[in-house]
């Protein structure tokens, strides 16, 4: 039956190619715009770690100026990062199953002089849990162990590009890389890893990419490694030098914990609060008690990592699609009404109302699918254009989920445009038309 209806639909569509192409063009226009901006939003808003992001929590403490909130106009605001001393103390807890403090720095890589001049590269300082917590993919080797954290041992993890540059892409586990004036042993090489957002660093927005080199955090106090990320301070350091900076109230670290169960989440929240209450006795944390242990999805929402404009474009583009399909109603009505004599004959010859209705719906869905496929094709091109305009745009692409959404939308658009005209023509009584004829 469906095949027969498809055949009639195609015949009918071929009969008036101008109207048919207008119909298909209308749907294609709506689909290409909506698919482009829904896909753009999807790339940046989709869960970076499905199934896991709800167990990863980001810790914030309000250690800001007692006289003035972090954002002066918003007394509930608190710093987006934590201090070195607080991270150190909080990491003594064994409630989280995994945890890491982390920040970004920059080092000089000294390759074999045969390969080239030294170059500066972003380096992320992390604890060994980092790699497991954030599902970092490895091509060779893996992260380091707790012993390497504690000592710290001179080990590093490098990404694929760096491995290509330094070792020609070979398995470099066990070989050494010179950073500044020290040698580090490669323990792991990353597989290609290009998440659209550096989701473990919520302070950086859309801009920068994941770092090419990772080394043990505990080198920080030894080598006096400075941050290349944000650092927020509200009072000077007590004294000079790096140790004074580490002891200061300057916030410059991201601190993540993994808390798989509600019990652990509850326990850790209490632990953090108790720590701050205890610190208050020592004259720190002059503001009202305020700590946040926020899950990754909530954090992304709260800090607005995705620009609000991308969300707005997605909403507007869906409304645009609705206008496109509403617009086709008039066209379809005209087309179907012109066919009333033919339908009357079919009805008089025994076609049921339902059959007539379905036949017209099928015709509209053929238009919907055709327009949808064309629109999908155009949106691939549009997304390429968008990718050129925005920073870090090379991650923008259509995935299977978005293609499915796009096809679903074109079916809905076809239905939205066709349901009323189809209902109108199927409710025409057969006899009346025959009489006039």
């Amino acid at each position: 039956m469906l095949l027969y209806q498809l055949k009639i639909a195609l015949t009918s569509l071929r009969r008036n190619p101008v109207i048919t192409s207008l119909l298909i063009g209308g749907i294609a226009l709506g689909i290409c715009v909506s698919t482009t901006f829904i896909a753009l939003r999807h790339v940046f808003e989709k869960d970076p770690l499905p199934g896991k992001s709800n167990t990863l929590f980001y810790v914030r403490l309000d250690n800001w100026d007692p006289q003035r909130a972090y954002v002066a106009e918003d007394p509930k605001s608190l710093p987006t990062m934590v201090t070195y001393r607080d991270m150190r103390e909080l990491m003594k807890s064994n409630i989280p199953t995994r945890q890491t403090g982390t920040f970004r720095s920059r080092f000089f890589v000294h390759p074999d002089p045969k390969i080239g001049r030294p170059f500066a590269e972003d380096v992320r300082l992390v604890f060994s849990d980092f790699f497991t917590m954030f599902n970092v993919p490895f091509q060779y080797g893996g992260g380091w162990d707790k012993a390497a954290d504690a000592k710290p041992e001179p080990v590093i993890v490098i990404d694929q590009n760096t491995n290509q540059k330094l070792f020609g892409g070979a398995n470099s586990v066990g070989r050494t890389v010179r950073l500044e004036d020290r040698n580090y042993k490669v323990v792991g090489v990353l597989a290609p890893w290009n998440p659209p957002l550096r989701f473990y660093d919520p302070t950086q927005g859309l801009g920068p990419k994941v770092e090419p080199i990772y080394m043990p955090f505990n080198f920080t106090p030894i080598l006096e490694i400075q941050t290349y990320g944000n650092s927020d301070g509200w009072k000077g350091n007590d004294g000079n030098g790096f140790q004074a900076f580490l002891n200061s109230d300057t916030c410059w670290l991201e601190y993540w914990v993994e808390l798989p169960t509600p019990e652990k989440q509850q326990a850790f929240r209490e632990y953090v609060n108790n720590y701050v209450i205890d610190q208050k006795k020592h004259g720190r944390f002059g503001r009202p008690l305020h700590t946040e242990v926020t899950s990754m999805p909530e954090l992304t929402k709260e800090l607005g990592v995705v620009p609000p404009q991308i969300r707005s474009l997605a909403i507007v583009s869906v409304l645009f699609l609705i206008v496109c399909s509403l617009n086709l109603i008039g066209l379809l009505l005209g087309k179907f009404i012109a066919r009333i004599p033919e339908i009357s004959v079919r009805r008089a010859l025994g076609a049921s109302r339902l059959q007539v209705f379905w036949q017209h719906i099928v015709e509209c869905e053929v238009v919907g699918i055709a327009g949808g496929l064309i629109g999908l094709g155009i949106s691939v091109g549009l997304l390429k254009m968008v990718a050129k305009v925005i920073p870090n745009g090379d991650v923008v692409h259509l995935d299977a989920e978005m293609i499915a959404v796009s096809i679903f939308l074109s079916l809905v658009a076809g239905l939205l445009a066709g349901i009323y005209p189809a209902w109108r023509v199927c409710s025409i009584p057969p006899a009346m038309q025959l009489k006039v004829q």
């Binding site: 715009v33 607005g304 507007v316 109603i329 008039g330 009505l333 009404i337 305009v389």
Partner: protein, 400 residues
């Protein structure tokens, strides 16, 4: 012209008009909100920095050679570097500073003053050399920095500052700001305001884009330095080509990173440009599509009613009456759509406005959108209505 017959005639095709009304309503909602977003982005883009953006380029170096571990070596080298940059033909001025216009941030601090009640936040940048000539801003009150403002010992804090007019206004109103003192926290060195620059804007969180303190200090240490270079108009390309070779000939033990401020600015506004382009395209296509839709519906309405039109003409209606009928019918539909659309426009605005971008819908925009769509609706009805006037009265006597 009585509305009664028109409305009664429309009742026969209720659903059809309902769809058009809905379409016009959504169109108005989208168009007004899209224009609103475009205006908001444009406002941000048109905000001038006050600097000679197009002729500014930054060159930063990071050293790997061992001699850079000595601060005294770096001091001497930076002076040599500045002279080397200055000697490049087409260079107008050069300074060392960590300030980089249009990078969407920078450094800031919280300060106290002798007058201002409480604390305030402002951007803070150390600079040495001809910083204001380089940026292209004038010190309009007080004096610029001189070489002796920078203490010889890099551990000694500086005692003077030059601030932006906007900050001076915020702190001391219209009083003379020169000679006032700004400190950060107890025991910290107070800094005396010695000069004012009129123009300064660098987008920053906390809405402190116009508030800045420049201090005469070192934007370099043993880990590297940043130079900001201003070129003569048109000399950017040749200067950029010569920067790295010049500085490499002074000392090759370092790597460089060159960024044109115009590129930074482009990057900073990339999201805004995307919004403007996409929204402009959506508005144009949408108005066009809505026009097509109205044309379709009105020619259908005319085609269906050919016989009735003929009858009316035979009963004495003039061509003008027929034209009026269809135009009024469209006007009623459009107006109904627009009334619904006003609600939609404000509703969509609430949905789109987030905490971050606080762009309220202005009534002028809604009014403008309504006028646009009224005209659009009438123009789209004219062809079909004109066709209707051509229906001869004799058609009333024929059967279909």
């Amino acid at each position: 012209m009585p509305f009664g017959p028109i409305i009664r005639a429309m009742r026969h095709n209720r659903m059809r008009f309902a769809f058009i009304i809905l379409e016009i309503a959504i169109t108005l909602a989208i168009v007004t909100n899209a224009v609103n977003m475009i205006l908001d982005e444009r406002k941000k883009m048109l905000q001038p920095s006050g600097f000679d953006d197009d002729n500014l380029v930054s060159i930063a170096y990071q050293p790997f050679a061992p001699e850079f571990k000595e601060q005294s070596y770096v001091e001497a080298l930076v002076q040599k570097d500045m002279r080397a940059i200055h000697s490049i033909p087409g260079v107008k001025a050069v300074a060392t500073t960590y300030f980089l216009p249009w990078q969407g941030g920078g450094s800031s601090g919280v300060w106290k003053t002798d007058r201002f009640n409480g604390k305030f936040q402002a951007q803070l940048y150390a600079a040495r050399g001809e910083i204001f000539q380089t940026l292209g801003v004038k010190v309009t009150q007080g004096r610029a920095f001189v070489e002796t403002d920078t203490p010889v010992d890099s551990n000694v804090p500086t005692r003077v500052t030059i601030i932006s007019r906007a900050l001076a206004k915020k702190l001391w109103g219209n009083a003379n700001p020169i000679g006032h003192v700004i400190t950060n926290g107890e025991g910290a060195t107070p800094r005396t305001v010695i000069g004012i620059i009129d123009d300064f804007y660098n987008p920053y969180a906390w809405n402190i884009g116009e508030f800045v303190l420049f201090t005469p200090g070192r934007a370099y240490d043993t880990t590297g330095a940043v130079f900001l270079v201003r070129t003569e108009p048109g000399a950017m390309k040749s200067v950029v080509a010569q920067l790295e070779p010049r500085l490499l000939s002074v000392n090759p033990g370092r790597v460089f990173r060159i960024v044109k401020i115009s590129d930074l600015k482009d990057q900073y506004f990339s999201g805004g440009k995307l919004v403007i382009r996409a929204m402009t395209a959506i508005i144009i296509i949408l108005v066009f599509i809505t026009a097509l839709g109205i044309m379709g519906i009105s020619s259908l309405a005319v085609a269906e009613r050919t016989k009735q039109i003929g009858t009316r003409r035979a009963l004495g209606a003039t061509r003008a009456d027929i034209l009026k009928h269809f135009l009024l019918e469209n006007w009623l539909v459009t107006t109904a759509g627009l009334i619904l659309g006003v609600i939609g426009a404000y509703g969509l605005n609430v949905l789109l406005v987030s905490k971050l971008s606080d762009v309220k819908m202005q009534w002028e925009l809604v009014a403008g959108g309504m006028v646009l769509l009224w005209i659009n609706g009438l123009m789209s009805t004219v062809p079909a209505a004109m066709r209707a006037t051509l229906v001869p009265p004799s058609i009333a006597t024929r059967s279909v």
